[in-house]
Symmetry: C2
Subunit: 334 residues, 2 copies
């Protein structure tokens, strides 16, 4: 970040983002990912201004276990998406340096090189630190910024470990689950909870699999889907056979996503779903910021050690200790 | 609860508990489990007075999947514990009416009848509502009240599902994991995380198993234990063969628990472990009470809907919405 950019006001930077300035977008994402309060404050002032610029976007979560071929599928799907020249594509990938991502170092060097040169594409690795699955409340803010910069298709890559505090489900419209077809036990490694959130399933690397094992993998996924509660009353998730190598099934996946979005819009479910997500994100933010406000409050910092000691010495119960501390910082009702 | 007891002061009730009055103990546990703020407040005043009465106790968690025979083992182990006439035993069981406990109705009727008549035994089902695994911060408070009433051995039953927000690990000294010996795949249903917390493993209902399958079950548990990180540097968890029916291995289990406690005490690890638990429980209470204080604050109740609407309409970000709300109720530093 140059000195000039640092001195730009939130209003100026927001204006740059809304005219599609990729550098301004990148710098603001860096501010959002920062741990410094002054960076975060500026980032959120920028974000609040950018919110007035609402792109009509489609957000797609791409999830699946390590090794399922997420990067390759995203690249091929991205090229399919760009066949419609009106589309501007933002790809939020998992930072390959993140320990938990399971991405291979060799594979990451050449990640998505067919997309990265394209001017209609913005690729950004999100640090997944502290958030299993690679999404955090900040991922949602990055999505919003990309939309303000004019990107109307957002692909969000996550590791489908199903334990992330803030699930990708609360940020995207459609979730595509990637699975490697195998010996019939491909469902073993997939948590039931992840399958329940999928709006479509893509079996990947089908060029490497035998036709017979492909058919049985597809059948076992389909019967598993039938056993699960339906996510949307009006939608039946499909199991699609894909190959990033040969291009098989990629158009089918994109059409499935478009049909899903059309179904949501026709039934006036699109906006209510987005609103519900925002309301969930508000509650998540309340939880996070309450803890922050508590542990960083000067009155707590000066009192916590003594209260913890009294609790540890059994002079007061943990309940009473917490109550006494909280009463120090909560204002009386006006 | 009679009118008289309701009018008794916290000081009077605490005095009754500390002289071993079982009715006063039961009534106070009911207050602790209540959702009414005035009940909770009184319960915690009683608890804080009772904390001055510190019994030299041993707390044992009994965990395992449904069907592993927890009730029967607890009953037989309880009788073994009571052979030492100095022992007073409190048993906190999972409320069989709880949906998630998986306890059979038939089995529950006759649960622990050989213990329930004994004057040195206090049995109390804990409602596990809202807390998978059957422990909640309130379970810890019930343990402390039982100790104040003179019970020096506390058995806490939990369903070892490994997803409980507040793990039994933060409340007990020794965790006994019960497993049904089987066809060699008995580890399938057991989450790695639960095995890591065990200080001892009891294979149950061995009278019903073939010697050969018992030996292989024991061997596979032992090799699994070797692969896991050690919980205590100075302790190797044992796999013990037990039967509540024949009494096999019950004395061995109790001796194992006593040896473990002696190991902790000799190495001056007992008190530090208890203190660490209390400090964790303080943080858990802070989290719970902060959320309560927020959502029940009159200023939040009157402002929340408008903020949520602004967030849902994309006028402000979830971050800013949460920040504005929290600032309403956090006092400035003094």
């Amino acid at each position: 970040m140059t000195d000039t950019s640092r001195n730009n006001s939130a209003e100026e930077i927001a204006g740059q983002i809304m005219t599609g300035d990729r550098n301004a977008l990148s710098r603001t994402i860096t501010l959002i990912e920062s741990s410094k309060p002054e960076h975060l404050e500026k980032a959120h002032r920028i974000l609040d201004i950018c919110l007035q610029n609402r792109a009509d976007s489609l957000r797609i979560g791409i999830t699946g276990p390590p090794g399922a071929g997420k990067s390759s599928l995203i690249e091929t799907l991205g090229l399919e998406i760009l066949k419609d020249s009106r589309n501007m594509l933002a790809v939020l990938t998992i930072d390959p340096s993140s320990k938990r991502s399971g991405g291979s170092i060799l594979g990451d060097k050449s990640r998505m090189e067919r997309l990265s040169g394209n001017k209609a594409v913005f690729i950004r690795p999100s640090p997944s630190s502290g958030h299993l699955g690679g999404t955090s409340p900040r991922t949602h803010e990055v999505i919003r910024l990309c939309e303000s910069a004019g990107y109307n298709i957002i692909l969000v890559e996550t590791v489908g470990v199903g334990q992330s505090e803030i699930s990708v489900e609360s940020m995207v419209d459609y979730i595509l689950l990637l699975m490697l077809p195998g010996s019939g036990d491909e469902l073993q490694g997939i948590k039931r909870g992840i399958m329940e959130t999928a709006d479509g399933i893509a079996l990947t690397k089908t060029d490497e699999a035998l036709p017979k094992s492909l058919a049985s993998s597809k059948a076992s996924c389909e019967s598993a889907l039938k056993l699960l509660p339906k996510k949307h009353r009006l939608w039946n998730p499909k199991v699609m056979l894909t190959s990033a190598m040969t291009g098989r099934g990629i158009e089918e996946v994109w059409n499935d996503i478009l049909q899903f979005a059309a179904m949501l819009r026709e039934n006036e479910l699109f906006e209510p779903a987005r609103k519900k997500q925002l309301s969930q994100l508000l509650r998540t933010q309340v939880d996070l910021q309450l803890k922050d406000a508590f542990y960083n409050h000067p009155d707590i910092i000066s009192a916590f050690a003594a209260t913890a000691a009294a609790v540890e010495e059994n002079t007061i119960s943990p309940f009473t200790g917490a109550k006494q501390l909280i009463e120090k910082i909560i204002r009386s009702p006006r």
